[in-house]
């Protein structure tokens, strides 16, 4: 199996980013950790040669997203924990509410908002990552913002 140091490097460098994405996709911390673990395993088994760090990061995000989707399919047949199991949202109330509102959105909006506003990717980059056109991503961001704002206002203001 892989040397400890190589695995540690990947987990230290990308673990938080992957966990954020997986948690927002899956809403369950244990599942998100599993998805991160599977992604790291996939990295050491299947990763191509990367041209740069951004390429490596984008590859990991794509794999993590696919892992999350597999888990969501699996979850449909096996009872999963609800959002009440969520334990690791930020402790301050405002941040917690915003993330909860984000997690209540349909997946495509969650993903686009997370990649753009939390991970800082541009529209073109997101489009490549998720296999959509830039206009589709813009649309998802636009609609996502609207739904997020509405949800936050209704629930928490």
């Amino acid at each position: 199996m892989q040397e400890n140091s190589a695995v540690e490097r990947i987990v230290e460098k990308y673990g938080d980013m992957l966990y954020r994405l997986c948690l927002i996709m899956l809403c369950v911390p244990a599942d998100a950790e599993d998805a991160v673990q599977e992604t790291v395993i996939a990295y050491f088994r299947k990763a191509p040669d990367f041209s740069d760090t951004e390429h490596e990061k984008a590859w990991l995000i794509t794999v993590a997203r696919n892992k999350c989707r597999s888990m969501q399919r699996f979850r449909k047949r096996h009872q999963a924990l609800g959002e009440e199991a969520l334990e690791t949202v930020p402790q301050d109330e405002e941040s917690s509410h915003i993330i909860e509102a984000l997690m209540s959105l349909p997946e495509k909006y969650r993903l686009a908002l997370t990649l753009h506003y939390i991970e800082g990717y541009k529209v073109d980059e997101i489009a490549k990552m998720i296999g959509r056109t830039p206009s589709a991503v813009k649309m998802q961001l636009s609609k996502g913002r609207e739904l997020l704002g509405k949800k936050y206002k209704e629930e928490y203001l």
């Binding site: 950790e33 597999s70 908002l113 649309m139 913002r145």
Partner: protein
């Protein structure tokens, strides 16, 4: 409107705990248990069950063909494929190990009464995750097992020589439903190892059987030979063309006699997104089937939901014809050219949608970088404008130039976004087809409504 900087800051606070990091690092570096080979299978099959990269290029090729108004055609060439119709999937829940009919070691039972039988009764999906099985293949596999009997035996290890250098097994592994590896059966000669895993990294349960027949070679042959789904005439065409019944019959006959295997290489023309080949489409309710044929290659895609932004691709496989018959796609193109007829279904569907303002909402219009959010009145005005037009399919190959508006509309109830349409001059683009409207001032009228 929410301050989105708050979202950024909130997101940054989500982090893996130190304990979680340690667990993940340990899981990736620990020495694997004795069934390492099998575990390798599980990880590899999860990774391999992913959409193939060629599909985007095939889709681009197909769209280019359509936009050229060239050899694109809509043909119903796929039958009711129960393995890809969710409604036809077995509703039977897979039993947990404790409820599987128990066989004491040494008792001979028909396969139907064993854990293997229970597995086969469900929607096993692929051969080690490398491929998805068709309904015909699954039927053939069930038929292969039907008359067998199984004796439960002592556990056995799978010889490492049965794996390739990068850990891929050379024997067939049938996997249950979806690539999440909660159960699979490995068939080696006349023995079967059945693995049930609860959760992706959960505890595994194993059962071992000896069959009364060596079925490995026959099973591999079933998995390796693919049968294209055939026409049944039930589907209606997509994207502006019909194929008459004679054409459908000829296409049926063309595909019916051919054999396919899953291809690893992607041919030029599909890989570089050129306009080669022939694209066939058909729609069945919420599903869209797309087939791209280039030389002896066939790209087969199933999408769930009708054509719109965000449609989900459920299945994408590239096949290669193994028969000596060359240039399959030329024959197909010739049939399509002779038997296709234009129809107006795309325009009719579009006008019906935009007219129904109770169901659909035009929620955004863009013109370059500029974005318009519409009032209810503007939506109604646009709806009336579009539904009153007479649209005819534009046959020119040239792409319209000039300023254009892009309209985003969605189903009000479930927020499902429809494919955006465009207006450029007096042309309207719907589902990648350009139509000419009978109103030469169309663009100006749209502009007046948006600025009004």
């Amino acid at each position: 409107m929410m301050n989105l900087n708050k979202l950024s800051r909130a997101g940054e606070k989500i982090r893996l705990s130190d304990d979680a990091k340690k667990r993940i690092i340990a899981a990736c570096t620990q020495k694997l248990p004795d069934n390492a080979g099998e575990y390798t299978d599980i990880v590899m099959t999860v990774e391999r069950y992913k959409p193939r990269p060629f599909r985007r290029f095939a889709a681009i090729a197909a769209v280019c063909v359509l936009a050229a108004g060239g050899t694109a055609a809509a043909v119903s060439i796929i039958n009711k494929a129960p393995d890809i119709s969710s409604s036809s999937r077995s509703k039977q829940q897979f039993a947990s190990p404790s409820t599987v009919l128990s066989d004491t070691i040494g008792t001979v039972s028909p396969v139907s009464e064993t854990a293997i039988g229970e597995f086969l009764a469900n929607d096993f999906i692929g051969n080690g995750g490398l491929q998805s099985l068709s309904a015909t293949q699954r039927e053939n596999i069930r038929g292969l097992f039907a008359d067998l009997t199984a004796t439960e035996t002592e556990p056995f290890s799978i010889d490492s020589s049965l794996y390739t250098e990068d850990g891929v097994c050379t024997f067939p592994v049938l996997q249950y439903n979806g690539g999440d590896c909660n159960s699979h059966i490995s068939v080696i000669g006349d023995t079967v190892k059945y693995t049930y895993a609860y959760g992706l990294t959960g505890q595994k349960t194993y059962r071992y059987y000896k069959l009364d027949k060596n079925i490995e070679a026959e099973l591999k042959q079933i998995c390796d030979t693919h049968f294209l789904f055939m026409l049944d005439g039930r589907f209606y065409p997509e994207w502006g063309y019909d194929i008459d019944q004679t054409g459908r019959d000829e296409i049926n006959a063309l595909f019916n006699g051919l054999h396919f295997v899953e291809a690893e290489d992607v041919p030029t023309g599909l890989s570089d997104g050129t306009k080669d080949g022939t694209a066939l489409f058909l729609r069945d309710g919420g599903k869209l089937y797309q087939i791209n044929v280039l030389n002896n290659y066939v790209g087969f895609h199933l999408y769930t939901d009708t054509i719109k932004e965000g449609m989900r691709e459920d299945l994408s496989i590239l096949y290669k014809c193994t028969d000596s018959e060359p240039k399959m796609s030329d024959k197909l193109a010739a049939i399509v050219k002779e038997h296709r007829h234009m129809n107006n279904v795309v325009a009719e569907d579009f006008q019906s949608d935009v007219a129904n303002t109770d169901k659909y909402s035009i929620w955004c219009v863009t013109e370059g970088e500029k974005e318009y959010q519409l009032t209810e009145q503007q939506e109604k005005q646009l709806s009336n404008l579009f539904k009153g037009l007479t649209l005819t399919l534009r046959t020119s190959d040239s792409v319209p130039s000039g300023p254009e508006f892009t309209f985003y509309y969605e189903d009000r109830e479930d927020c499902n976004i429809k494919c955006p349409f465009k207006v450029c001059g007096n042309l309207i683009k719907v589902s990648n087809l350009w139509f000419r409207a009978n109103d030469t001032e169309l663009y100006q009228k749209v502009q007046d409504i948006l600025k009004g």
